[in-house]
């Protein structure tokens, strides 16, 4: 294996250091793992935020609905990179505690801010996606649940959300795919994810062209895995005789 990559470099001039240099390979694999962690956590939190926000949007309190509306407007109408900078540089410098050495230490790491920022960004879009699903659940079905004694939360959890999720799944998938790709923005606050470690490698080895291809291929594979997972999910949730 390593011999092949050494040959590829020496005979063909294609310098894939991650193929024969164990340090670079370790760095790159750690980068992939970081991207996977960022993706999984942001996807999960953004789904929770989406479901929670959509629930509050149906609340009788105008104040709560207004708050969710403001949250969506803020995160949907500003660029995700600016949001990330805002959290890391503006909020992050306020949230500090004094470390053991007497110097101020950040309370939340760059990785933490990336997860928070990406989750809120994708979550705000998920609220709207879930809401469109919720609006497609027939009122009569909800009424049947309340006639059976379900309260608002029970109706939401057991009837509305499971149906809305199935209706929203295609647009939800699009948003989650975008979210995985958006994790590359964490580069900007020095979170060592795939793009960041690749830049480290190409600065040392001067193999930008090779690494750019590797980075693109990595994202293609990661997104393909996600899309495959979403398809499996969609299939497992298909109800016989419901929809198409």
């Amino acid at each position: 294996m390593e011999q092949f990559f050494t040959w590829l470099y020496q005979e063909q001039g294609i310098n894939l250091t991650i193929g024969y240099d164990s340090y670079d390979r370790g760095l790159f694999l750690a980068g992939i793992w970081m991207t996977v962690k960022l993706s999984v956590l942001s996807v999960l939190f953004s789904l929770v935020i989406g479901a929670l926000g959509a629930w509050i949007q149906g609340s009788p309190s105008a104040l709560m609905r207004g708050l969710v509306g403001a949250f969506i407007a803020f995160f949907r109408n500003t660029p995700p990179l600016v949001q990330l900078y805002f959290f890391y540089f503006a909020v992050g410098t306020v949230l500090r505690h004094t470390g053991e050495n007497g110097l101020p230490q950040p309370l939340v790491s760059g990785f933490g801010w990336a997860v928070i920022s990406l989750s809120l960004f994708a979550g705000s879009l998920n609220v709207e996606i879930f809401r469109s699903g919720i609006e497609a659940v027939p009122r009569a079905t909800v009424e049947a649940a309340s006639a059976l004694g379900f309260n608002r939360l029970q109706t939401y959890l057991h009837v509305v959300l499971p149906l809305a999720l199935r209706i929203s799944l295609p647009s939800l998938g699009t948003n989650l795919v975008n979210l995985v790709k958006t994790t590359s923005l964490a580069y900007a606050i020095a979170v060592p994810e795939v793009l960041y470690v690749s830049a480290q490698i190409w600065s040392d080895q001067l193999n930008v062209r090779e690494m750019m291809n590797v980075v693109l291929l990595t994202y293609i594979v990661l997104v393909a895995v996600l899309v495959w997972g979403l398809h499996r999910w969609e299939k497992s949730m298909r109800i016989p005789g419901f929809g198409t």
Binding site: A140, T141, S146, F150, M237, I239, G241
Partner: protein, 248 residues
């Protein structure tokens, strides 16, 4: 005031209800005794569906009073769950939960709302599905069942809460003629067991056969009410006569 079975189980007094500027119920009163079967008939838009939806607080009312077992339904402090445990409702469009099987549909409310033990609920749910003649359909999804079958699952689902009163809102109106019968047979069995039933229906033959009392509503008022025989053979009000001559 505690309720005793010698008093009406449902008592509706001078109920008024508007949707915006349109007054749908213009002072409706009626009493239902325990074990009684009453049918409400009348032209569409006469307020009959609205009336029974008010009984389990799916619609609110502007004035008047509705009590179920002595409990005022439109008291803002009412525990809705207590009311809905007493009053079961079946709808025109069945309204089953499409993502749950027939068995799960029947089990869901007792398990999730009343938090009864699953095994016990399942045994009861299977017995109820047998009772509505749906043995073997436990694991079918609503989308795989015919309209009449879905409606019988909906009846079983309501019965699973052990209600004291069942409300039927035009439950055969969306069914084709052959399946109407299977649903009516189910309701007839229930009535024969002594379940208090309030039906809004267009099935005149069925109303005549099953009802202890028939109410005729038109334009938000009860025009006439009588035992079925008297009602269908000697209607007094000209509006009742006109309606019956059209539908019979």
């Amino acid at each position: 005031m505690t309720w005793t079975p010698d008093k009406p189980i449902i008592s509706i007094k001078d109920v008024r209800k508007s949707f915006g500027a349109v007054e749908v119920l213009k002072g409706v009163s009626l009493d239902v005794m325990k074990g009684e079967v009453i049918c409400i008939i009348g032209p569409s838009g006469s307020g009959k569906s609205t009336l029974i939806r008010c009984i389990n607080a799916l619609n609110d009312i502007q004035s008047g009073s509705i009590t179920v077992e002595g409990q005022e339904v439109h008291d803002p402090k009412l525990d809705k769950l207590e009311l809905r445990k007493k009053v079961g409702m079946v709808f025109q469009q069945y309204n089953l939960f499409p993502h749950k099987t027939a068995l799960q549909n029947v089990m869901m409310a007792p398990v999730k709302v009343l938090r009864q033990p699953k095994a016990e609920v399942e045994a009861r749910a299977r017995a109820l599905l047998r009772k509505v003649r749906l043995e073997g359909k436990e694991n079918s999804y609503p989308g795989e069942l015919s309209g009449g079958q879905q409606q019988r699952v909906a009846i079983a689902r309501s019965l699973a809460m052990n209600p004291d009163v069942m409300l039927f809102d035009e439950v055969t109106a969306a069914l084709d003629p052959e399946t109407v019968k299977e649903v009516l047979v189910t309701i007839r069995d229930l009535a024969a067991e002594g379940m208090t039933c309030v039906l809004v229906t267009h099935e005149m033959g069925f109303a005549r056969e099953i009802a202890d009392h028939v109410y005729f509503t038109d334009r938000g008022v009860i025009v006439e009410h009588a035992p079925p025989r008297e009602f269908f053979e000697h209607p007094k009000d000209p509006r009742t006569r006109a309606f019956l001559s059209q539908v019979l």
